[in-house]
Amino acid sequence: MSDVNETPVYKRALPGPLPELDELNRFFWVSGEDGTLRFQRCGDCNHWQHPPSVICPKCLGENIAPQAVSGLATVGAVTVNHQAWTPGMTEPYVIAIVELDEQPGLHLTTNIVGIDPDKVVIGQRVKVVFEHVDDVWLPLFVPV
């Protein structure tokens, strides 16, 4: 019964558009290749920032680089989408804003998967999983 690969496969509800990769954002969208989520961090003042930029808005230092985060986060806001925006959508799905443990306000809009949509609540602890599509690893979150 058990397969060689026992890791559950998580997917978004719909195969929607993917991000267009460029110099600035590539590290973020491919970060999940090794199972790790990364954000830009300032080497001078330690500020985490998102979306990626060319400079730290806190100290104006340019010593910024991707750095791994724990992947642990808390649900800050949640909405269950019921509207069929595109053909083929049948099930409700959960969109959430999660706050990464590393810094207040370090947010991602994402999907919470692996749970009944109506069961996701604000304050819930979640951790990152990745959906691999083409050249992109989308960070989704599951309950801890």
């Binding site: 978004r12 509800a13 719909l14 929607g16 558009p17 993917l18 991000p19 267009e20 460029d22 954002n25 998102h50 979306p51 800050g76 806001a77 949640v78 909405t79 269950v80 989408n81 019921h82 509207q83 925006w85 595109t86 799905y93 969109i95 959430a96 804003i97 207040p104 306000g105 947010h107 991602l108 809009t109 994402t110 999907n111 604000i122 992109v136 989308l138 989704l140």
Partner: protein, 396 residues
């Protein structure tokens, strides 16, 4: 003294609006001409008097069909205008055309500025293109929307739903309270012959409506329409030459503070309306208690809730209690709200409809829906999330 704020030298000389409908057999440019002719007639001006044109966001037809189909230069060419100044651009607040026009007349760049906002979203949807859906049908998405669209957060309903969920959890606002924004708008729409939805709507109807993106149901979302609204902004010195009762700008502002995104605010229930409110009251000696009628953006009902707090009509987190039962925001209440039916019932004229209505109410020309107590000060708010503009209009 607050006379250093130069928008006080700007007046609204005329307002005009095309038909507002779900599928009008008129192009965006035709609708804009209709609205412009109506505004000129209202002001007692001719095309020869107009020496400025401003709009927002400018022509977006290639990116988002129906969202903004008419260029500033389209109306200039169509009506043979000779311009000393013109401006339109998307990288600004929804109210930027009005703000820019105030600055243009105050600094002498123009005397009479035609401002317009035209939408053909209903026709675009009928043709299979939903302009308010960003990125749908595309394979890849760049720019700021890459942070929402890959997670199928296609619609502003999702983004506003997120903020609303957090707000309701934090401050205990109920759906029954939120419903009062929609129910009040619908009652007001019944007195507006141009409104789209005028059937009676009960609290039960609201609570039983289908969810779009929790906690927002169908009736929390405004209605895409075809419409154009024109506002002529002139220097106050021209008032004696006008046919209309002038309505003056007491204050106007369109700041951008905090993060320029829907999801990166440290506090997910705060938005750019707050600095707009702070700026607005710094530019005037008036206070929220002086406002007789409020025309507050309701692209989603929840945005109006945030605006009530942002402009200081109630305290932070208190809007649910403020609107409960709907009395305070009713036509006979202490703060009559969205007296034409708002965008929720009168259609998404995308901010300009609130100016149009504020002017009619201040002049006493709102017909059957004219407030019985003649208002002298109106507050107008446009936008939500990172985009926010606010204005105070007065009848001197």
């Amino acid at each position: 003294m607050t006379t250093k704020y130069l928008e006080k030298n700007a007046i609204i000389a005329g307002v005009g609006q095309s038909q507002v409908g779900r599928r009008l057999d008129r192009s965006g440019l035709q609708l804009t001409v209709d609205a412009t002719k109506a505004a000129l007639a209202d002001a007692g001006l001719t095309t020869a008097d107009i020496d400025g044109v401003a709009s927002w966001p400018g022509n977006m037809e290639a990116m988002q069909p129906g969202f903004s189909p008419v260029s500033v230069t389209d109306i200039k060419e169509a009506m043979g205008l000779e311009l000393n100044w013109y401006s339109a651009g998307s990288e600004s607040t929804q109210m930027s055309a009005i703000i820019n026009a105030c600055m243009a007349v105050a600094t002498g760049q123009a005397r009479h500025v035609l401002c317009f906002r035209t939408m053909c979203e209903a026709s675009a949807i009928a043709k299979g293109s939903r302009s308010s859906l960003v990125g749908a049908g595309r394979n890849r998405i760049g720019g700021s929307f890459q942070w929402q669209i890959p997670f199928n957060a296609f619609s502003a309903t999702n983004w506003v739903g997120l903020a609303a969920s957090r707000y309701m959890q934090e401050f205990g606002m109920t759906r029954e309270q939120l419903a009062q924004i929609t129910l009040t708008a619908r009652r007001n729409a019944q007195l507006n012959p141009k409104a789209i939805f005028t059937d009676p709507l009960s609290l039960d109807d609201y609570l039983q409506a289908r969810m779009i993106s929790t906690p927002l149901c169908l009736f929390d979302c405004d209605i895409p329409v075809d419409a154009s609204t024109a506002i002529i902004i002139s220097h106050a010195d021209t008032a004696p030459d006008l046919k209309s009762i002038p309505v003056r700008f007491e204050a106007i502002t369109g700041p951008l503070k905090g993060r320029d995104s829907w999801d990166q605010q440290i506090d997910l229930t705060r938005f750019n309306g707050e600095p707009a409110g702070t700026n607005l009251w710094q530019r005037t000696d008036l206070t929220p208690a002086d406002v007789d009628v409020a025309q507050l953006y309701d692209g989603f009902s929840f945005l109006t809730v945030l605006w009530l707090e942002a402009l200081g009509f109630c305290g932070r987190g208190e809007a649910g209690a403020f609107i409960e039962g709907g009395q305070r925001i009713s036509r006979d209440g202490e703060l009559p709200l969205n007296t034409h039916g708002g965008q929720l019932s009168a259609g998404r004229t995308h901010g300009f409809g609130f100016f149009h209505e504020a002017v009619l109410q201040l002049r006493g020309e709102a017909g059957e829906r004219q407030l019985s107590q003649q208002p002298k000060v109106a507050a107008v708010a446009n936008g939500g999330g990172n985009i926010a503009g606010a204005a105070l209009l007065v009848r001197d």
